[in-house]
């Protein structure tokens, strides 16, 4: 085991993936040790509590373990792929938690069905506006652009939901997303120059 682990440690992520696809636990362990911290941090940032972040990270890594063979190196790094799996799981978790939130005691069934989405919208958006400390690339953006990107990427809201939350036309929301991403990208390119 130790020998296999040492061998796996010398491999790049892209070389580990085929081994993970062949169900090699040591390769998977190395992958977790490299990216588990970032994955858990991202999950925590999205779902906002530790137990849920743990569940989300676990599910994400299990799905990577089971579908390792599906990783496509042409589409980016293993780390980005892995973090996008975590992000999607975390967003799914937020949505299902909202759907399970305690509902008011209405007799009207249609009212019951409509509530979860609205609850999620209001509570999540509020939590994101008040609690989220915008760091790194996002922190350098003008507030209106940072806010739409925050709500989309970390809140899992669609552009039309964001338009409703912020009371803006959809075109404005999409425009701000574009401007914000362009700005982050521009800074990255400058940093490289």
């Amino acid at each position: 085991m130790a020998v296999r682990r040492e061998k796996a440690e010398r491999l790049a992520d892209e070389e580990l993936m085929p081994l993970v696809g062949r169900k090699d636990p040591e390769a998977f362990e190395v992958l977790y040790d490299r990216h588990g911290g970032a994955a858990y941090s991202l999950a925590y940032r999205i779902v906002g509590d530790r137990a849920a972040a743990e569940e989300v990270t676990q599910e994400a890594f299990i799905s990577v373990w089971r579908s390792g063979a599906r990783f496509d190196a042409a589409r980016g790094s293993v780390r980005s792929w892995l973090l996008s799996v975590v992000r999607n799981r975390a967003i799914d978790f937020l949505r299902s938690r909202a759907a399970k939130a305690p509902k008011l005691d209405f007799d009207d069934e249609s009212a019951l069905e409509q509530r979860p989405a609205e609850e999620r919208t209001e509570e999540e958006a509020l939590r994101r506006e008040t609690a989220a400390e915008l760091r790194g690339a996002l922190g350098k953006l003008p507030d209106p652009q940072a806010k739409v990107i925050e709500l989309a990427y970390f809140g899992g809201f669609s552009h039309s939901e964001i338009a409703r939350i912020l009371g803006l036309p959809m075109g404005t929301v999409k425009g701000r997303m574009r401007l914000g991403l362009e700005k982050i990208r521009g800074e990255m390119a400058e940093g490289l120059a």
Partner: protein, 229 residues
Amino acid sequence: MSASDHGRWSDELAAYALGALERDEADAFERHLAGCERCREELRWLQPAVQTLPESVERTEPPPQLRESLMAAVRAEARQARERTEPAAPRRSRGWLLKPAAGLAVVALLVAGAVGYEVGKDGAGNGGGTTVERQVGGIDVKMVQEGNSGTLQLAGVPQLPPDKVLEAWVEREGKVEAVPALFVPDRHGKAEARIADMSDVSTVMVTEEPRGGSDQPTGEPIVAMAVPQ
């Protein structure tokens, strides 16, 4: 794809990269993307900006038991996969843990095989009683262990089709064994199975099986829980 068409879609690009298009909008955009080199190029340019977002998150250390339970689950599956591919290995149900459990109503609602692992001492102080408790894909799982035996308590289990039952399994020294316990959730979604012999058990699992039970699991577990030794 005409050039004028492109103008309309290029507005969607950032929203798509951020995962902020609705499902049908994303599908439509992907159809355009397939035929529009300009959009593909712009997307390639913007993608690193999106990829930097998860990296800008404040670091929070994951709890060590996350790694432990993850590796326990992974090693168990690797062992099963090896046994399946080695012809000399004793006969075992094909596809255990890995086969897509198509058509199983319960499984479809759950994250199949997610493994929980969280230890707390039993508050009742029953001399060495251990309770492991965990939420797995919407099901509350509680494993109460006392001495050599244990009780698996589930809450929030979706209703089963009438021809199905739940069956409990244990993994003991790398081998999956049926627990002589078939059970069904009550109408509140609660279900309980008694496991008489917990010695050397590393994982407790529950699958949905045809009425009467099976000798080997036939689908993915709806619950799998690592048990502290």
